[in-house]
């Protein structure tokens, strides 16, 4: 018969849609012009990767992430003012998608950006507490 409706999931969605993605202030955006862009994010290096190891193994001090046309668009929407819901709405309207279709795409993309340190998602409750 019917499984239990889980109120936790509902609260989770509510919090997620009202959260605001904020760009990493240290990230540097570089528009390549051909529908692509690069975002440079500084990497905090381990203490043992400093001199003298870095003299023999010069490692990059930043990570570079390439964005395609759609990635650029979403990056542009993450201006620190728009909530997740507003970003999804704008994206859905632009690409003639339903809200839920756009939500799946945006959430997946923002999850990748978060994992790579390009953005953080600020939740409403956390904001109130701080």
């Amino acid at each position: 018969m019917n499984p239990v409706i889980n109120p936790d999931t509902e609260l989770h969605m509510e919090a997620l849609l009202s959260a605001v993605p904020v760009r990493n202030k240290a990230a540097r955006y570089e528009d390549k012009g051909d529908g692509k862009a690069l975002v440079h994010v500084p990497i905090r290096q381990k203490w043992y990767m400093g001199p003298p190891i870095s003299w023999v193994m010069p490692l990059s001090k930043e990570r570079v992430i390439a964005l395609d046309k759609v990635g650029k668009e979403v990056w542009g929407l993450c201006d620190g003012n728009r909530t997740m819901e507003q970003i999804i709405e704008a994206f859905a309207e632009e690409h003639h998608l339903r809200f839920h279709q756009a939500r799946l795409s945006i959430m997946e993309f923002l999850r990748q950006l978060t994992r790579r340190g390009l953005i953080v998602v600020v939740g409403h409750q956390e904001e109130e507490q701080t």
């Binding site: 018969m1 019917n2 239990v4 409706i5 690409h95 003639h96 809200f99 839920h100 799946l104 795409s105």
Partner: protein, 289 residues
């Protein structure tokens, strides 16, 4: 309902508000469920299970009530709810009402129950509209119809939906026709990834494993690219004359802003054309069909 959308899935049809979406689905006719959400909450859950005879509804709802009481001991349960073929009750807990109702589907011999959690207070008119529009529907002129996930299609009655994969901007339905397998794929946001050449799209999807020819068919409403080919790699099936063939049709529908691709794979002696499935990508195409 101000703006409603028609959903038809495994012999059930319903009208739902346009902003509701399916988030959980089953492809088995014997037992399964469909869950609908709006932006924030679950709004409707339909569950079904095969049942050769009409079950004792009193026993079924006693069981539901007992489970509800166990879960939320303080809940209030309204015993009286009967509407058309539906029987059920309303449960109120912590200021939120939930409707549970069930009916027996004589056509497909299954028990169907619905759970409708209400946002604030119970909207009886809307509840009646929702339940009134819920129908059990059989094949129409020997064809089964599916209207869900923005794909509208009909297939021969004997075909079985074996898989439905719904991903970001992409939906794939897989049918088992008895002779082979047919996949219907809908890909949204073509402006983001499509280079304007359907042939390239088919070349990418057939690369490596298939060898064949591409052609264009402009007789249809939307210009369609077709692929007809056979397995490229040497396999033991060659010896027993069971080599698999493949046919594809792909087209861009500007109205729905999506690319549709129908693929059939079948043994050499039992041809299966992608044209056996009618995909109604837009109103104009449906009218033509």
């Amino acid at each position: 309902m101000d703006s409603a959308r028609y959903v038809r899935w495994l012999g059930m049809s319903m009208w739902i508000p346009d902003e509701w979406e399916i988030v959980r689905h089953s492809v088995r006719e014997e037992r399964g469920q469909l869950s609908f959400v709006d932006r924030r909450k679950q709004r409707l859950q339909v569950a079904w299970s095969a049942c050769s005879r009409r079950p004792d509804t009193k026993w079924v709802f006693d069981d539901f009530r007992a489970r509800d009481k166990h879960r939320t001991p303080d809940c209030e349960i309204d015993e009286n709810f009967q509407f058309e073929k539906w029987t059920g009750y309303h449960r109120t807990a912590e200021g939120q009402t939930l409707t549970r109702a069930g009916m027996y589907d004589h056509k497909f011999k299954r028990w169907i129950d619905v759970a409708i959690p209400w946002n604030d207070s119970l909207d009886e008119d809307f509840e009646k509209e929702l339940l009134h529009n819920f129908r059990t529907v059989g094949p129409d002129k020997g064809r089964n119809r599916i209207d869900a996930f923005d794909i509208h299609l009909d297939t021969p009655e004997s075909w079985v939906l074996s898989k439905a994969e719904v991903g970001p901007a992409e939906t794939v339905f897989t049918f088992d026709s008895g002779r082979g397998e047919v996949k219907v794929r809908r890909r949204a946001m073509p402006e983001a990834w499509f280079d304007g050449h359907l042939e390239h799209l088919l070349q990418r999807s057939t690369a490596g494993k298939w060898r064949g020819s591409y052609s264009f068919r402009s007789s249809r409403l939307h210009e369609t690219c077709a692929f007809e080919g056979r397995e490229k790699q040497f396999s033991p099936r060659w010896f027993v004359q069971r080599r698999t063939l493949r046919e594809d049709r792909a087209w861009l529908c500007p109205e729905s802003n999506a690319i549709f691709q129908v693929t059939s794979q079948f043994p050499r002696k039992e041809p299966l054309s992608p044209e056996e499935v009618n995909v109604h990508c837009c109103k104009a195409q449906e009218a033509q069909a």
